[in-house]
């Protein structure tokens, strides 16, 4: 334990005394969050999102209303009403149409919903001027929902924290161990009675402490200005964060287990991080994206972190609802740790 603690403390001192690294680690995500909050005060894009329950009508059928053929509308299929109505209530989609019950729903507080409702009716009164869609909206009855709109920044902040965890963990463990290996620090430790397990576990705990600290500071700092929505449990959010940090650190251990060159480490890190940042729903929802893209996102741990933390923060999800995400994160963590233990070399 003494050896473990000595290496843990030394690593923390090394990080916190490196002011440029510390400032960069804090500044980048804070600037990102504040920048997006300023640029997109209410939403991340201009496309209207319409949830569809009961399946999209066949082209030319009696239910194929002109509204379905308008430009700049994205139709998102849902199996049941509960999820799209919840999302409608939080302004995450703009309208829901239930073809089986001939009902449509709008959020009475949503400006997008107001515009969409006018478009919905306008298609029916156009006198068949549309090239497709002969059905009538007259048979649909309107229903409204209400709820607190979710700003884009509320939706975005779990993603940015996820990126911070991802980059902080991969670079903080992956790059550092590769650098230690290249410049001989690992060799120096190898010459002592310190075991590989003691060294690696000290690095993991040190990085866990650093990333958790930075994430807390970033969240608290931006929350004091932007007042994020927090519908769920803080303790559960902390648990998700802790598991995600461990998972990303373990991933960093895997890719750093044998590499000797920082250039190679940089290339591999780009290979890992960029797809995760693009395909994990950090900046935009994956709803409506191609199936292959959604399938690819399931391979990334950050996807499960973002899903779980958004569910807690935005929807107030409890442990049961995010248990699947937690399970996948835990399984990935164990798999990464096992791989790192099998692959790790001092030199």
């Amino acid at each position: 334990m003494k050896k473990f603690w000595a290496v843990f403390v030394a690593r923390n001192l090394e990080f916190f005394r490196d002011r440029s690294t510390l400032i960069f680690n804090l500044a980048f995500p804070i600037i990102l969050i504040l920048g997006f909050a300023y640029a997109f005060p209410s939403g991340g894009g201009t496309t209207f999102k319409v949830g569809v329950v009961g399946g999209m009508p066949a082209a030319g059928s009696a239910e194929d209303i002109p509204f379905l053929h308008f430009q700049h509308l994205q139709f998102l299929p849902y199996a049941g009403l509960a999820t799209p109505l919840d999302r409608l209530a939080h302004d995450q989609i703009d309208m829901v149409i239930d073809f089986s019950k001939k009902e449509y729903y709008v959020n009475e507080a949503s400006s997008n919903g107001y515009v969409l409702e006018k478009m919905f009716a306008a298609g029916d009164s156009s006198g068949g001027s549309f090239t497709a869609g002969a059905g009538s909206t007259g048979v649909f009855s309107q229903k409204t929902v209400s709820g607190t709109p979710i700003r884009y920044v509320d939706w975005l902040v779990p993603g940015v924290l996820g990126i911070n965890i991802l980059l902080g963990s991969l670079s903080g463990v992956g790059f550092v161990i590769v650098r230690y290996r290249r410049n001989g620090v690992l060799k120096r430790f190898k010459a002592t009675p310190l075991s590989a397990f003691q060294f690696v576990s000290a690095q993991v705990l040190s990085r866990f402490f650093i990333v958790a600290f930075l994430s807390t500071v970033i969240f608290a700092g931006t929350d004091s200005v932007l007042h994020f929505r927090m519908a769920g449990s803080w303790a559960l959010l902390a648990l998700v964060n802790a598991l995600a940090i461990l998972c990303m650190i373990s991933l960093g251990l895997v890719f750093s287990s044998r590499i000797k060159s920082e250039e190679a480490a940089g290339g591999i890190m780009n290979l890992i991080t960029w797809p995760m940042m693009i395909l994990s729903g950090v900046f935009f929802s994956l709803e409506g994206t191609p199936h292959a893209m959604q399938l690819a996102s399931r391979a990334f741990p950050i996807t499960y972190y973002i899903e779980a933390s958004r569910a807690i923060m935005l929807d107030g999800a409890g442990l049961a609802k995010i248990a699947g995400d937690l399970g996948v994160l835990a399984a990935m963590t164990l798999a990464f740790l096992a791989a790192a233990a099998a692959l790790f070399k001092w030199e």
């Binding site: 050896k3 603690w5 403390v9 001192l13 090394e14 001989g184 120096r188 010459a191 002592t192 009675p193």
Partner: protein, 298 residues
């Protein structure tokens, strides 16, 4: 050097082999190190010195061979009994010298008190300085301090004074002398022959992974060159004169390798050699290596 009569050597190496691909970095070396001695491993770049020492330190696995510490095969606890100063090493950054020493001290079950290390390595003046901001000599002293963190019986120093100015080198020698005086055993690799002659009790000379000579420095010089070399102009030696000490012709001078300088001088005078222009030189380990390998030490 292979004979181990008398007390059990603190370290014994038998038929050690280590190859990297087709390159035999260490090719069947054997030697024994007496407790309390300073043992030098000499050789040019690529001779296999560092590979040999790092295999012995258990940093690398040998391909074959035996390493005995106090008569027993090295075990996991071997690392607790040895101190190592690598040829090239880096440390965790943003730590002071004191913090670095404390870090390494905590990695051993029986560390030497930090105060003793500071005194033994003369670290007082920069003990609270960032370890990145040390001069070459100060850095080597700190690395020596780290190597002493566990109060080792056996200390490995791999080219510890390379790159240091003469003053810093001399200071470092004095520290090593102090360590020897405490009864510690030192294994030293070095390029500097004056360093080996000054510090080492026994040496081996390696080339291409082999030991090509071994013994005490003074005895090796006597064996190969005699006590001294008497050089006289070729013209000063009577034609056909023969002498008991071996001689060779070099650049217009005849060099006599003398086992005993006084008797050789008397023999030369009685043999009619004109001593005008005479020079008497003592050969060093550089000369020995040149003779053994046909090339100078890098």
């Amino acid at each position: 050097m292979n004979e181990t009569a008398g007390p059990t050597p603190i370290l014994e190496v038998r038929d050690l082999h280590k190859a990297y691909g087709k390159v035999k970095a260490v090719d069947g070396i054997s030697f024994a190190v007496r407790e309390g001695s300073c043992f030098g491993i000499l050789g040019p770049n690529g001779a296999g010195k560092t590979t040999a020492i790092e295999v012995i330190e258990t940093i690398h696995e040998p391909d074959s061979g035996t390493i005995l510490y106090r008569g027993e095969a090295v075990s996991r606890s071997f690392k607790e009994n040895i101190g190592i100063q690598f040829q090239d090493t880096s440390l965790q950054e943003f730590l002071t010298v004191r913090e670095t020493l404390e870090l390494f001290s905590k990695l051993y079950p029986k560390p030497r008190p930090i105060g003793e290390i500071i005194a033994a390595c003369s670290l007082e003046e920069f003990i609270d300085r960032d370890n990145r901001k040390l001069s070459g000599g100060q850095r080597q002293r700190m690395l020596l301090g780290i190597a002493l963190a566990n109060d080792p019986d056996l200390l490995f120093l791999d080219e510890p004074t390379t790159g240091l100015d003469p003053h810093a080198r001399r200071n470092f020698w004095r520290l090593v002398e102090g360590i020897k005086a405490q009864g510690k055993t030192v294994i030293l690799t070095t390029h500097y022959m004056d360093e080996a002659e000054y510090l080492c009790d026994d040496i081996i000379v390696m080339d291409h992974g082999h030991i090509i000579e071994s013994g005490k420095p003074r005895e090796l010089l006597l064996k190969h060159f005699g006590e001294a070399v008497i050089r006289v102009p070729e013209a000063a030696v009577p034609a056909g004169a023969a002498f008991s000490c071996p001689s060779e012709l070099e650049d217009g001078f005849v060099s006599f390798n003398c086992a005993n300088t006084d008797s050789s001088l008397r023999e030369l005078v009685s043999g009619g050699v004109d001593l005008a222009g005479i020079s008497i030189e003592r050969r060093n380990l550089d000369d020995l290596f040149l003779k053994l390998t046909g090339s100078g030490l890098d």
